[in-house]
Symmetry: C2
Subunit: 96 residues, 2 copies
Amino acid sequence: MGDVYKAVADETRRIILDELLERDEQTLFELCTRLTMKHGLSSTRQAVSQHLEVLEDAGLVHSERRGRYKIHTIDTRPLAQIADRWPVRPPREDIP
Amino acid sequence: MGDVYKAVADETRRIILDELLERDEQTLFELCTRLTMKHGLSSTRQAVSQHLEVLEDAGLVHSERRGRYKIHTIDTRPLAQIADRWPVRPPREDIP
DNA sequence: TTGACAGGCAAGTGACTACTTGCCTACGGT
DNA sequence: ACCGTAGGCAAGTAGTCACTTGCCTGTCAA
């Protein structure tokens, strides 16, 4: 099982998650097209494919083959461990 | 301003955050000692110092000089943007 | 004031990582 | 059957990152 933290450490992978959150169940080519069109990224197909592999290892994306297409589905649940590990609250204020 | 995602991408930095969450306001040497004793990490002082710098750039740690000591305080608030960006909910289930 | 302690600065190194390039496999339509 | 499309499989490369090493600065106690 891959590292969720390392998965979201890359900005391109974060944009892929954004894109899948906005429109779930996209193929590799759809994602490539949208990354170049909407986000101005000039990533090759292989680059995006490798990013999706990392996201899949982290459990953030699931994939399913349909004919000659590979459909990618987002799963944000692994991100919950981040919020669970360090509860968000204001820092200690030192008032002398 | 540094990258919060890159800051938590490293396991040592995550352990530092754990340690600061359990006991806030530690010096560099205290953190070094606890990392080696409690977590079995053999990090040098400079390594931990550089990690703290990354965490500070990301806004996750604030530091304050007191005499010859440097006190480190945790601030988990920058982590909220992760939960905000991708709301955690179950993935789409395909029931044919 | 001198030595010990807490920390900083900066260059160098090895490992990892994002990305590319080139070629190959599989499925579908005509 | 054949061509085009969607995707996979490496190997190679350039850049980043974690970590070390060596030396320097500042602070407190005796």
